[in-house]
Symmetry: none
């Protein structure tokens, strides 16, 4: 039996992303016509359109009226939008990945943070080495209030997106984030994890992330390799 819990259009969306990630669809390639996809996956054309529309909004696909739907070239045309690591790497034409470093539940290290996260003291801490094309790109440490996300610690996180889990299982969507970005030299532990020489500087991101109700649900700290990563942004007067 097909587990029908996931909406059809989300399933198709995921299948399309997988085809792109596996290289079956390359940037510039044409997708099959909507009517054909509808027949192929046994759904109505409107449902196909919903899947494609979301991917167009995420800059993964491009529609050309009268011509076809294409896999986007990775040009990074957008301003700075809030994205997960996976989404951002895909936009840059790289394959995102993860290696779990640490997964634990701790008492809140500071009353301040406990209050921010409304955590009542207990925090779930997830530390992952983030990969791009199988090479280390960043160390990401997320802190979440465990009382809001029961059983989150039981997930695997090697091949799962944290934000997707939060959105689909806990109905929490990230809508806004505040970041402070600094430049530092890596600690010995960081340079080892990232597999870089100790002379390579790194970006430090400190982020608080807000959900759809404007509550903070995550405090994160990321360390990005300075030799592989650059920030691109568009700003307005």
């Amino acid at each position: 039996m097909n587990v029908k819990k996931r909406p059809l259009y989300k399933q198709l969306k995921q299948k399309l992303i997988q085809k792109i990630e596996r290289g079956e669809l390359k940037p510039g390639d044409v997708l099959p016509p909507e009517r054909e996809l509808a027949e192929l996956f046994e759904m109505s054309r409107m449902t196909v359109r919903q899947a494609i529309s979301e991917l167009v909004n995420e800059y993964v696909l491009i529609r050309r009226h009268g011509s076809g739907t294409y896999v986007a070239e990775h040009k990074i045309p957008q301003g700075k939008k809030l994205k997960s690591f996976s989404e951002e790497m895909r936009l840059r034409g790289m394959l995102p990945g993860s290696k779990l470093c640490e997964k634990k539940i701790v008492l809140s290290p500071s009353a301040n943070m406990a209050a921010e996260l409304k955590s009542e003291g207990k925090l779930f801490i997830l530390k992952r080495l983030r990969l791009a094309d199988f090479e280390p790109m960043a160390i990401e440490t997320s802190m979440l209030p465990i009382n809001r996300f029961a059983n989150l610690e039981k997930r695997n996180f090697e091949n799962e997106s944290l934000y997707e889990i939060l959105e689909e299982e806990y109905n929490v969507k990230m809508t806004k984030a505040q970041q402070k970005i600094e430049v530092k030299m890596p600690t010995p532990q960081e340079s080892e994890l990232l597999d870089i020489n100790y002379t390579i500087p790194v970006f430090h991101f400190k982020q608080v992330t807000f959900d759809q109700n404007d509550n903070i649900f995550e405090v994160a700290h990321s360390v990005y390799r300075g030799d592989r990563y650059e920030i691109e942004t568009e700003i307005y007067r």
Copy 2:
């Protein structure tokens, strides 16, 4: 005759925006249910949903499953705003200043840059050490097409804002900029100018700045001290 060229859902979208702009719908207010809007404007519910979906994507409306559709509370998402060095330092509570390093007119170092700036080959180069509270903060190098800004090289620039001169004397306003931000180790010359140890990493900003007509009028390169400067930004989904 009603010119029906505009799609129905775009028409509804515009009507909703107008209601919000006129204050008939205020932030936090509930919209009429989708089914009601459909009847009211004589269109199908799917068409109503398309109008609402676009406004949700633009952060104008918020949908709450099982509850209703609401006018969003916060205003237009604004990431970091385009500011001059002086403006930014004042915002951070510091006193901005300048020390002139170099001021010259050169032949364009690359055909590419000449084309970007429509400079016909000659560039005005301005290199300044930027101070905050009388201490070095950044090295800023601006390149401008001299044919657009005749006599700009005769200005002093020690106590004048470049962008203010451009706006007041040449009627050029900055409206948009694209930045690439990298992290590097300083060159010996940079560490000496910035008065920092060679072990302190620095931010490298590469910026192209657009005027009110969407033409590039400046290419700039800045080096910021990593021990004094941090980027603060707010980003939206």
